[in-house]
């Protein structure tokens, strides 16, 4: 369980995290979604106490992370930025971190096998591929058998097999009753792994919702209409909830009406249609839509405040 309350972090002029509040619950995979630079990594560093918040508070399992007697048993974290000395072997990297908690060699070796690094465990981590580095990160994450697992962009740079492995792992960890909190800038990735979504844009909360509700709420129906009489058709379709865009001389993009309604309207007016194509907005577009709205909203608000 991670509880974030009114969390803000300012770096110089930039407000990286701005009044963020949310709760990450155990037993499900919670996706942390936002465009690059929206404050996901900063939020994770604040949770771990690597950075101190400018305002607000964050607790893990009821306490500040630094106040836990065995931090690695509370949270296992994989940060986006590499956190491994390039000159040290995977084995010694894991052993050194394990020893801070009195965790023995046996578990280190078990985890090396689990993530499939057995053959390269004695090689210097600087020679690892991105995928091997991520696997080492996962082994580090699981060292303390943590109640909460927090991963920053874990599938970045992985090959398809590695991505598949990671998805299974996340679901498996959640099924074991752990709190799983995983960030991504890819909506499609989150749709496959997450049960719940926390969406941020510009450091602010945009949505805190189930994946289903999010896609339903965010996806708007777009219909492409081709007609030799676009001008008349546009006048016939436009309404308070309807946005009609002239794409080219014969093509309209209609948002807010179903294809059936458009067809019926055209028939009533005796207008010719050459094409009528409903388009389901993809998850990616839905996500873009939501975060773009947030940016516009932010800009408007700033103007009012000034």
């Amino acid at each position: 369980m991670i509880e974030v309350r009114d969390l803000s972090k300012r770096y110089g002029e930039k407000l990286a995290v701005d009044g963020l509040s949310f709760v990450v619950r155990p037993g499900i995979v919670t996706g942390f979604l936002g465009p690059n630079g929206s404050g996901k990594s900063t939020t994770m560093r604040l949770i771990l106490g690597l950075d101190a918040p400018t305002r607000g508070d964050v607790t893990v399992n009821g306490k500040h992370y630094r106040d836990h007697a065995a931090p690695l048993h509370e949270v296992g974290a994989l940060l986006e930025a590499r956190s491994v000395h390039t000159g040290r072997s995977a084995y010694y990297h894991l052993l050194a971190l394990a020893q801070t908690h009195g965790i023995g060699r046996r578990r280190v070796l078990e985890l090396i096998d689990l993530v499939g690094l057995h053959d390269v465990a004695r090689k210097r981590a600087g020679q690892f591929s991105l995928g091997m580095g991520q696997r080492l990160g996962i082994a580090t994450t699981l060292l303390g058998d943590p109640a909460t697992v927090m991963l920053d962009e874990p599938v970045n740079g992985l090959d398809p097999e590695g991505i598949h492995w990671m998805r299974n792992l996340l679901k498996h960890l959640a099924a074991e009753g752990r709190t799983v909190f995983v960030s991504s800038h890819l909506m499609s990735e989150m749709a496959l792994t997450a049960d719940h979504l926390i969406v941020i844009g510009r450091g602010r909360l945009v949505a805190d919702t189930s994946v289903e509700a999010f896609t339903q709420r965010a996806s708007k129906r777009v219909v492409l209409v081709r007609s030799p009489q676009v001008e008349q058709l546009r006048d016939a379709l436009v309404g308070p909830e309807v946005v009609v865009t002239l794409v080219d001389r014969e093509l309209l993009e209609v948002v807010g009406l179903t294809a059936a309604t458009i067809g019926e309207t055209a028939a009533e007016r005796g207008l010719v249609l050459h094409e009528l194509t409903p388009q389901q907005a993809s998850l990616e577009e839905a996500f873009m839509e939501l975060t773009r709205d947030d940016l516009e909203y932010r800009a408007g608000e700033a103007a009012v405040a000034a």
Partner: protein, 275 residues
Amino acid sequence: MSAVSVPTIPRHERAVRVTQARVALSEWTKFQSLRSTRWSLGVGFLLTIAFPLLFAAVTANRWAHMSVHERADRHPLDIALAGVNVAQLAIAVLGVLVITGEYSTGMIRASFTAVPKRLPVLWAKLAVFAAVSFVLMVPAVLIAFAGSQAILDRHHLLQISLGSSGVLRSELGGAVYVMLVGVFALAIGAIVRNTAGGIAAFAAIFFVIPPLMNILPTSWNNAVSQYLPSNAGRQLFSLHHTAHNLKVLPGGLLFLAYCALAVAVAGVLLVRRDV
């Protein structure tokens, strides 16, 4: 690397917690598992021995051609401890690297995630590095002493005994000095958090500022120079004390105070700053 299905993650039922002793063991593991550590320590150890042997051989060879004045200037203990001047650089560079290596690679984030109170990491690094430096330097200076004396003895020159007044103290003082240089350098590294910057800061304090003092009027120079960290620390392994130098104990204590100050600043910054 081909496992696609996820096997059950082994549980770790035993209660775990962070203690200072465990962090120290962890730091020892980190320290001994890097190639750069072994190289720096090996080079420091060998140079501490090699330079006195070289100087002893040269002195013995050139003795017949030396003026009386030049002969009077040679002291067997200066020869035996000549390597300390070189070893301090190797140990200082390693001391800086012990902490800045973690910042440059990002390892520090893993370290401070495992030990979020942070200060135990600094104490453990200092303890491990100081202990290793001291344990390495004691045999090095003693071997250098025995070796340089053996070479000089063949020419019946400049003999001195470990039992003579102040000799053993100077020998051990040399080892203590190098150990404290390591502590000081590690603290500088923790403050600067950058390898090049840390080494430059150390070099400025120990090798650049002292000669610059010669620009000052002599009376100022004499008054001020003895209080510089390097000059204060050197008294630990100086047999004779000239007019404008501190005595052994005040010098050693002042150097210790400089180290304590650097460590205190490092500790405060370590806890306060974002990683």
